[in-house]
């Protein structure tokens, strides 16, 4: 099962075991990870599931055009590591991801 580690702005972290095809956003909501809202349910239309993908054993496709457009307007600064976590769906059963949760989402 893939694992995702969520690192909070204060440095605290939580590692959870998730399932393939479950997005990093959905996994965060299921475990009430603070700072990830995911209001639109994964349609890449609200921009409230922004994370910094710091490390990943699985490589993901670069952001789509729509995701790019949303990332320009994230509440916290955009970096090269910025992703919408609803678009990150591990497909490797052994995937290990570390994502940083930004200071603000809205």
């Amino acid at each position: 099962m893939p694992t995702v580690t969520y690192v909070q702005p204060d440095g605290s972290q939580q590692t959870i075991t998730t399932a393939c095809a479950t997005s990093v956003m959905q996994a965060a909501l299921a475990h009430r990870i603070p700072g990830i809202i995911g209001e639109c349910g994964g349609a890449a239309t609200c921009g409230t599931c922004h994370v910094y993908l710091d490390r990943s054993s699985e490589s993901f496709l670069p952001p789509s055009e729509d995701e790019e457009a949303m990332l320009e307007w994230t509440a916290a600064p955009r970096t090269a590591a910025s992703r919408l976590s609803c678009q990150l769906r591990p497909s490797d059963n052994a995937a290990q991801l570390v994502v940083r949760v930004p200071e603000e989402q809205q």
Binding site: Q26, R32, E39, C40, G41, T45
Partner: protein, 409 residues
């Protein structure tokens, strides 16, 4: 609080309420009464992905079962039958009851039906739940003759889903444009163009006046202009009716929805109403607003949770936004207020103004402009002149505002 908080309704509003209450540290008893047998699920896909035969017919739950268990939230998969305000009790089907210190009504809305003979026949469908989506997708096949009644968001999303499987689609809308007054004329015209190009036959200004039936199913839809449109399936998408029965029977004021004040409280201070079922009344003007959107449900839920945990005394206020996916078309809208006296087209978006101030932005496949408008309108209300100075490209103003904030910070 000893009896705790009871939330009625398993949509986005109900789930967000219990989530936000626990997030804010509320540790008392918490019960979520949801009328459907399955765990609360993500609603927007009901009229989109869930209609696609290639997708998993099981809707994605909003939260996993472990979420409710780990956070001490009792989920009751049964319908609330009545509220006894005297004893602060919600009666639930199956002989159950839940006592409350505070009750949050998040009962949502149901599909409006047509009061015409034949409307109850099995091939006349409405769309509100995952079960409805399942019933509809079972009937959608290549060549199926689908008649969609109503050119609102649900009707248009259904039309796109039906075209995806190569069904024949006729959409009848009684008004002169799609989407009624929800969007401006230029946007409605572009959306109509998209659907025509997608192969949908649009009948604007066509009132439905009856059904032809063979006794067991509807065979055609009869319009006011005398047309008879053959149908294998009829989908009625003529809007939704707020679920306000519980409140009404408990003696609370309703007005096509549960009437609440600016603090989202009903006439009973121990009962709040949020989401699709709630009608917010402005005290000074008397104007009422009822919104059907994920944003409204979520923002109102977080607000009520904040209030119940002692966090706020300010009136509810949020910037409404909305989206609709119709095949390859993504419509997005943000609006401070619904009114406008002037529109200006800017690329794939339409800016709406009233009294020279921006009131809202409608975007078609232009998420960048939509998101920029949301960012900007959260903090400022740009004027027509300010926007004209940047060629009506709201992204330029939003970038300027973001830079200015960084400088101040």
């Amino acid at each position: 609080m000893r009896d705790g908080i009871v939330v009625v309704g398993g949509g986005h509003a109900g789930v967000q309420t219990v989530d936000a209450l626990r997030e804010r540290g509320y540790s008392g008893p918490l019960t979520l009464v949801c009328g459907e047998a399955r765990l609360p699920y993500n609603r927007p896909p009901v009229s989109k992905e869930l209609l696609d035969p290639a997708t998993d017919p099981t809707p994605a739950p909003l939260r996993a079962a472990s979420f409710y268990r780990d956070n001490g939230i009792t989920v009751v998969p049964a319908a609330a039958l009545g509220i006894d305000r005297g004893t602060r009790t919600v009666h639930i089907s199956g002989g159950m009851a839940a006592r409350y210190d505070h009750l949050v009504l998040a009962t949502g809305a149901r599909a409006r039906t047509l009061p015409l003979p034949g409307a109850a026949l099995p091939n006349v469908l409405t769309l509100r739940t995952a079960q409805d989506a399942h019933a509809l997708r079972e009937r959608l096949h290549a060549g199926t003759r689908v008649v969609v009644l109503g050119g609102g968001f649900i009707g248009l999303e259904v039309a796109s889903a039906a075209r995806r499987v190569d069904a024949q689609v006729v959409l009848l809308e009684r008004g002169p444009q799609l989407l009624g007054r929800a969007v401006s004329e230029p946007t409605a015209a572009r959306i109509a163009e998209h659907h025509r190009a997608d192969g949908v036959r649009l009948g604007l200004g066509e009132q439905v006046c009856g059904f032809a039936t063979d006794g067991s199913r509807v065979t055609a839809v009869r319009t006011g202009s005398g047309r008879l449109v053959s149908a294998d399936v009829v989908v009625v998408g003529i809007g939704a009716v707020a679920e306000d029965r519980l409140a009404h029977e408990a003696g609370l004021p309703v007005q096509q929805g549960i009437l609440v004040d600016q603090w989202l409280a009903t006439a009973d201070p121990r009962i709040s109403a949020i989401g699709d079922c709630a009608v917010v009344r402005e005290p000074l003007t008397g104007t009422t607003t009822r919104l059907e959107s994920v944003q409204n449900a979520s923002d109102q839920a977080r607000y009520v949770a904040e209030q119940l945990t002692g966090g706020t005394s300010r009136p509810y206020r949020a910037l409404p936004w909305f989206w609709s996916d119709q095949g390859a078309l993504r419509f997005q809208m943000v609006q401070r207020i619904a009114s406008y006296d002037r529109t200006v087209s800017s690329g794939q978006s339409v800016l709406r103004f009233e009294g020279g101030l921006l009131t809202g932005v409608e975007s078609l496949n232009d998420p960048s402009t939509h998101q920029a408008a949301r960012r900007l309108l959260q903090r400022a209300t740009p004027s027509l002149a300010e926007l004209a100075a940047v060629d009506h490209d709201i992204r330029v103003l939003a970038r300027q505002a973001a830079r200015a904030r960084q400088v101040v910070a």
